[in-house]
Amino acid sequence: MSILDVLLWGVLPYVTIAILVGGTVWRYRYDKFGWTTRSSELHESRLLRIGSPLFHFGLLVVIVGHVIGLLIPKSWTDAAGLSQDAYHLQALVLGAIAGFCTLVGVGILVYRRRTTGPVFSATTRNDKLMYAVLIAAIVAGLATTLLGASGGEEHNYRLTVSPWFRSLFVLQPDIEAMARSGLAFQLHTLIGLTLFAIWPFTRLVHAFTAPVGYLFRPYIVYRSRTGGPASRAPRRGWERVGTAPGGSSARRGR
């Protein structure tokens, strides 16, 4: 266990989490106005209509795959009677298909960004950086999946990466487990950490506000000029005259 291992697998993850959480909170508080998909469909929809769903749906499957692969211990699937080979096969097939869709989707999206004049001129440096890291993460991830097809023990991430990932959350990082995994996994993990670190500062924040609440709210929204989310808390120094401190916010929060 070298110093580098400690830094990469024992320190960096926590730094990333701190940036991700702190950055998101900070952005939510100070840049709600910038929190948007910045949709470019107004300019071009033919390619977007293929690329965006392909990318997003592929990615959602990939995310679910990551959650299952990283969070569910191998012992559980073993106990459930799912053999390593069977697990591996379905993960490989599903993962490869979803990863491939994601890659093709993002390819179409980038091609569209580059070739559609208005979309290209609406692309910021921030977007370019984000795309570079995102594509790198997807390519590296797809590579690990395909490498995994060869099936060696060092490629069984459920014995190396997954325990390390889970150990992070109990604050006892299993650095050795991660250090034992293959180079491809390590690379993918590092790129993934980078992606999470820049996440709050890019347009990717839109994913954090996926509108699931839409399924549960009434169609027509009424808001009062006073109260309700539309009005803001008074700034410091501008609180209303009142007896109880915070009285006005109690009114607002009805």
Binding site: S45, S52, H206, Y214, Y219, V221, S224, P229
Partner: protein
């Protein structure tokens, strides 16, 4: 019964001269920013014509508004909640910028910079979207005044519908064409499908006055509202990635001023006032089976502000006395419900729109006069309204889901008023039968005439201010104290590229935009501070300093560089009341 108040507008189409002043002043107040170059919260379209965006009325194409499904319930035409979420990654029916138009400017610099040559230099159109030079092919008013008539006009969805019954119902040849103007803003619907379409719940209807707004901090750019609105009155700011729409000039209305479009309307044809309506019955009214019943159902929602039961119920809902008083004096209630001369635009979209229109009688009068008849005679007019079915059917497709009866009724009332008032003006015996023929009395006709023809500012705009007790909560006040960074926020972009950072309150934004314009080398009045007037803050009374360039008689004293032109204050007189109208 749950009584709610709704700010409403009525436009008298007979008086619209299609000057676009309303559009221009609205744009100058609200959408003169990059990202919304193509956006007209108020637009004026010639009918017949394709409208803006092109053919927006064709819901088979654009899927806006509501439909009544087989179980008799209302459903969003573009699909319900699940469908919205499943198609969120690429909205299947979003208008392209070209359906509005690609905004452009001209490369004026070549006019002065071009090298000497045999040809005159030309200012080429340059796209404001891509920055490339472009061919101008369409705009918000491409078919103004029937421009491109026989070629473009027949693609008007309403024309298509009317012609489905008979090929030669609407003609575009010069002798038989008719036209009128239709100014449009957001309808601030009682049953807004834009609000229902918003996945993040950022759009809302204000409980106090029914104004429909987009919360810029909560909008996430899912762009479903653009599809949801059948009038296509929610626009996507392609720079900020957020939806924007007509605000009914809430900062003005809150302090009792009419909207900018109304204030500046050359024809003085707009009326603003309150409706009281029964919020509990909105869905029921919007889901009546027969489209022809929608107008009646919508009228039925409007409550009589004189009815003691309504007043009591309104008080229970906490509606203030001055608002109830304003509702009783409301010109829009009178025109829509008492006289029944104002009709809603496209009730068949089932959103219960709250901007009403008095259909134009002029196409009929013009036609009569052209054919050598007396266009002011009630008998002639009544006959012509029925005989000249062309405008009636067209108007019915616009205002009553195709039912000609209510339109005919309105036109007859207007015709009766015309001929009755002619007798009054010419001091001839009054023909009470003309009034009786449309179910009114002479006194009622006189009253209606007053409201339609000579009502002054205070009668056309009966706008109660936001509750006194809440004055310090007004959004503008709340916001403008709320701004971080202070001056200079507008032009600068936030840390994550443009459009990030906090939403700038309207007043602050226009203030800065104004100042930037004032301090730049402008053509109008070079170097003169305070030389432009922000119409958003103009109450229409008097002539604020800077509305007109200062007179040029007094040249600046030599050496006095700071106060150019003698100073705007001294150059322009104090506000006068002579402009009060």
């Amino acid at each position: 019964m749950k009584v709610m108040a709704q700010m409403g507008m009525v436009m008298n189409l007979d008086k619209c001269i299609g000057c676009h002043t309303c559009s221009v002043t609205c744009k100058q107040a609200w959408t003169n920013r990059s990202g919304v170059e193509y956006v007209w919260f108020n637009n004026v379209e010639t009918r017949p014509g394709q409208g803006y965006p092109r053919r927006y009325q064709d819901q088979e194409q654009w899927k806006g508004g509501w439909v009544r499904n087989r179980r008799g319930r209302l459903a969003l035409k573009a699909g319900g909640r699940w469908r919205k979420l499943l198609t969120i990654f690429a909205n299947p029916v979003l208008p392209n910028i070209r359906d509005y138009y690609e905004p452009w400017t001209y490369d004026y610099e070549t006019l002065t910079d071009a090298p000497l040559g045999d040809d005159f230099p030309v200012a080429q159109p340059t796209s404001l979207i891509s920055g490339q030079s472009m061919a101008v092919e369409w705009s918000a008013n491409w078919d103004d005044d029937l421009g491109g008539g026989p070629e473009i006009g027949p693609r008007d969805p309403i024309v298509e519908r009317v012609r489905r019954e008979s090929e030669d119902k609407v003609r575009f040849d010069f002798e038989r064409a008719f036209m009128f103007y239709l100014p449009r803003i957001c309808e601030h619907c009682l049953n807004p499908s834009c609000v229902a379409s918003c996945p993040s719940g950022a759009m809302y209807k204000r409980a106090e006055d029914g104004i429909v707004l987009v919360d810029q901090d909560q909008c996430r750019g899912w762009r479903m509202c653009v599809t949801g609105c059948p009038y296509k009155k929610v626009y996507f700011n392609h720079r900020t990635g957020k939806a924007e729409k007509c605000t009914f000039c809430y900062p003005r209305v809150e302090v009792g001023l009419p909207t900018v479009c109304s204030e500046t309307c050359v024809g003085r044809l707009r009326y603003i006032g309150l409706f009281l309506y029964d919020a509990d019955r909105v869905t029921e009214a919007a889901s009546v089976a027969d489209e022809h019943d929608l107008y009646a159902a919508q009228l039925d929602l409007l409550l009589d502000p004189h009815d003691p039961a309504v007043i009591a119920a309104a008080r229970r809902e906490g509606i203030a006395e001055d608002w109830l008083e304003a509702a009783r004096r409301s010109p829009v209630y009178k025109l829509a419900k008492t006289y029944r001369v104002a009709l809603p635009l496209h009730p068949e979209f089932r959103t219960m729109p709250m901007v009403w229109y008095i259909p134009p009688l002029s196409p009929v009068v013009d036609r009569l006069t052209e054919t050598g008849h007396d266009g002011e005679d009630a008998g002639n007019l009544f006959g012509a309204i029925d005989a000249l079915r062309i405008p009636v059917e067209y108007l019915a497709e616009l205002f009553t889901a195709g039912d000609p009866e209510p339109v005919r009724g309105v036109l007859q009332k207007l015709a009766a008023m015309r001929s009755y008032m002619r007798d009054v003006t010419l001091d001839r015996p009054r023909d009470e039968s003309a009034a009786a023929a449309v179910g009114m009395t002479g006194a009622e006709i006189l009253e209606m005439y007053r409201l339609l023809a000579i009502a002054k500012y205070e009668e056309r705009y009966v706008i109660p201010t936001a509750y006194e007790a809440q004055a310090h909560h007004l959004e503008e006040i709340g916001c403008s104290l709320d701004v971080d960074g202070g001056p200079g926020m507008v032009a600068a972009s936030g840390p994550f590229g443009e459009a990030s950072g906090r939403a700038t309150p309207v007043s602050v934004e226009t203030f800065h935009a104004l100042r930037t314009r004032q301090t730049s080398d402008s053509l109008a009045d070079p170097g003169e501070r305070g030389a432009r007037v922000n119409l958003l803050n103009w109450d229409g009374k008097g002539r604020p300093p800077g509305m007109f360039p200062p007179p040029r008689e007094t040249p600046p004293a030599p050496g006095n560089l700071t106060a150019g032109g003698g100073g705007p204050e001294s150059a322009v007189g104090a506000p006068t009341s002579e402009d009060r109208r």
